[in-house]
């Protein structure tokens, strides 16, 4: 079985670690200060049910984060000749059909195309990885889309 790996930028990792710590604290606070007294059956006590749901949500999220924190790999800025190629974390200026566009290549957890953060597992991300300024990558489907790399920075 292939083990899942999450590629994170330093900022992305810090964000996850911060959220994880905050959730653990929140859970402790809730348990110590809000545990409702159950007067009758736990299933019927709405306050208890809401409390239990809150705790379950926090636990589910902390479990997700724990998994990421056990399986992450930090994206390091490349050195030497690799600096000229598209690697994770690269800011890439491309030319597509005569129009320029900027995108950042990130791991799947940080991908957010609306912000221009493209996943390394998307067809475009996969095609750009390892390429350098001047290279043209083509993605074929019913339409051929060509990306010419104009600039790579970190």
């Amino acid at each position: 079985m292939i083990e899942e790996k999450f590629y994170l930028t330093k900022q992305g990792l810090e964000k996850i670690e911060k959220e994880y710590k905050e959730l653990l604290l929140l859970k402790q606070e809730k348990i110590h200060s809000e545990t409702p007294v159950v007067f009758h059956s736990e299933e019927l006590d709405t306050e208890f049910v809401a409390f239990k749901e809150d705790i379950e949500l926090i636990e589910a999220r902390t479990a997700d984060l724990e998994y990421v924190l056990k399986h992450y790999e930090i994206i390091e800025p490349p050195t030497g000749q690799n600096k000229e190629t598209v690697q994770l974390g690269a800011k890439v200026l491309v030319d597509v059909a005569g129009e320029t566009d900027e995108l950042i290549l990130v791991g799947t957890l940080e991908a957010n195309p609306i912000e221009g953060k493209i996943s390394n597992e998307s067809p475009v991300g996969r095609a750009l990885l390892g390429k350098k300024v001047g290279d043209i990558v083509q993605l074929s489907s019913p339409v051929v889309v060509s990306y010419k790399i104009k600039k790579v920075s970190y």
Binding site: T100, T108, V124, V143
Partner: protein, 214 residues
Amino acid sequence: MDATLKFLINVGQLKDRKRRGWIANQVPNCETTASHIFRTAIFAWILGKKKNLNINKLLKMSLVHDICEVYAPDETPYDPLLPANFESIKDKKKTEEILNKWPKLSLAQKKRRAELKYKREEKSLRRLLKGTPVAFQKEIMDLWQDFEKGYSKEGRFAKQIDKAENFLQGMEYWQKYGKIKRDLWIRWAKEIFDEPIIIDFIKTIEKDITTKKK
């Protein structure tokens, strides 16, 4: 009025709310937000099964992902560039020119736009849920935030299914009316999907729909 009844009446408005992206593209008799939500839920269900995801969570998430549009605008990637009254005859030509090209925004503009959209939608959702049972409000807010931020596997999957449904609808309109800029949509799909099951399904759409104009 009873808060739950008010909530249902408000959500019901989405059954008549035509999606702005299609209006801008001059698609005749285009779908509504509720129609999009309906097929997104079915789409999430059928593909989510293949990935062994929590279908209960996925379905709820799909159902609530766009209900904020009762009070928030249904934004398109072209919004910052489109004329304010793109529906007016006067601005139709300008709108067409803009839609013929990729929406060109800097990374800073994209980030700002995403932040503003999130804030507007969160505010709208809180307004919509006001007065409904607290546990219900909390559940919907948690599901919506998970969808928006991609906290869980289901959240990340549902977000891509939302876009995949949009892609399918766009390609159906292209096939039927030819109003949609197919090549730009295909480029968009190559950038936004990274979930293997969805990428495979996009290929199926491309093969069966985007090559055959009616």
